[in-house]
């Protein structure tokens, strides 16, 4: 369940990204919100409501940072 919740969050974050910036399209935001909601529900089912919410907050911070900085990881030394 945790793995599925993580996958949902990753997909949601990718929905929000558009040309290295936060998307402003409703068609990106709506699926992202649904996916985030699904991820929270899964975490709450796995960890309990309170713990699930805090785990989601932590994971969102981590995944967002990684998704933003990860392209750099692959471009290191390629300049």
């Amino acid at each position: 369940m945790t793995i599925l919740a993580i996958l949902l969050s990753i997909v949601a974050i990718y929905f929000l990204e558009e040309n290295n910036a936060l998307s402003s399209k409703l068609t990106s935001w709506l699926p992202a919100i649904f996916l985030f909601a699904g991820s929270i529900v899964l975490f709450c089912l796995d960890y309990g409501v309170m713990r699930g919410i805090f785990v989601f907050i932590g994971l969102l911070s981590l995944l967002g940072t990684i998704v933003t900085l990860l392209p750099y990881r692959f471009s290191l030394g390629k300049t």
């Binding site: 936060l22 911070s61 981590l62 940072t65 998704v67 900085l69 030394g77 300049t79």
Partner: protein, 555 residues
Amino acid sequence: MKSKTIKKLYTLHSWVGVITGILLFVIAFTGAVSVFGRPEIKLWANPEIRALAPVDTVKIEQLIEEYSTKVPEHYKEEIIVFLPGVRSSTGLFIMFESHHGDPIPEDLKVAEGEAPKRNPAVATIFEFDPNTYELVKEKSGLVSELFANSQYDMSEFIVGFHADLHMGRPIGLLTTGVLGLTMMLSIVTGIFIHRKILGQFFTFRPRKNNSLMLNDGHKAIGMWGLLFNSVIAFTGAFLGLAIVVLVPAAAFVSFGGDQDKLIETFTAVQEPVIQNIAQSTSVSAAFEHAFKLEEGTTVDRMTIMGYGDKSAMMYLSVRGGESVAAQTAVYNADAEFQNIFSNFARLDGYTGAILDVMFPLHFGNFGGIFVKLIWAILGLGTALLPLTGLMLWMERGVNAANPRYSMRTYQRFNRLIVGGCGGIVIATILLFPSNVFLKYVIVVDNVGPAIWWPFFGSWLAILLGAFIVKCEKKFARQLVVATSILLMAVLPIDLVESGKEMVANFAYGHQVSLGIDIACLLMGVYLLKALKKYSVNTEKQAAISVNNVIAQEGV
């Protein structure tokens, strides 16, 4: 918001960062390591408790019965059992305590009308081998003295350093508490000064130039970690200031300044009314029930009040399960489960619930190793925030058309950053070999106080070294190499330390220590690889560094 106000907020954001940045890095970095302080690093530092057999609760019950006959009757007022390996004790400890001290002799008793004398609490602690349950040590005396001289190692050292920088109360706690507040201030001002904050969520342009890479990195880590950093800053400020400011203030308002009375009112367990009807206390059955309360729960200790009486009560400290906060499970003398509550459950409304989650939210110990990993990585991100901020401030200062300070000043500040931040990283990782060296080579009785020397010694040496070397940039690279080597050395050191037992422990289900070894090895290899690629990149870029400017000016 007016641009003038934003400019003021920017100045405030910059100066708060410049003044507290290095200390914030120190606290955040050691905090990220402290997440694994107990029990992971504790287990790594003490191979003898890595693969303990399940606790023999029947044996513990027998030991309590046996040793309760060896202490004075009034010492049985409260009995505390600390289980081995779970939190900070390496052995099994059974403590017999008298809250009211030894009885006052008749000739010293006060006259009628005078305030009764109250002796300080006394106790006898028996330490048993966690495997054989044989008596190892026995100590008696004042409770305050018994705990003041307790043994500790690198795990308590690093957690303690993160909490109060080993400066004690009130200075240390006040410092870390105020740092939490300044972090909150930086977060709030950061939100206001980055007006296009939403649009820049995914922006990271590392290939353009150094300044842009730092700027985007600072924003990306700061924005994505906004909620996490807010939680850490708030809980950190609370944990730092609670004991030195909030508790005295609340006691002054409501309890006439009596802080002990205030803490007792809200946290202490109720003492049972002794019926003087002899009945054995079912310690083993209570333990066994508590172990199975919820999936994933651990029991740290048991407190028994009124031992051997029909009215006896047992209070077990339980962590894990569905609850974020630590809880207390209550059992009667027959080991019948009564109820379970969190520490501050007696406070009305949401106050108790908020106070209960402060500690677990700060240290991330509420959801197993998965949550701890998230908290540790994000903690490193929190440490990178002030570092990238400081570097950005330096870059902008050096590259400005009219720099506010001389190049020499910028260089000195750069050296302070390299020495202060690089030094704490090396000093922290040096704790691993130092702990092994002190425990197995020099064989010191108490590793904790001895570990101060390599920790603070190496930090000071690197700090001084940063001011002596010709080029601090080169020195920083050397520090990264040294960090990598130290990280990669953790696995071989553990192999030498635990030898064949490492394989046996792994087969027995203990993967924590090997996990630490492999994680350190991978981080060491990654750091070396990243440094190599970063050096190639930066050499190609014509970034203006402080050293280049000074060299060009011929200062």
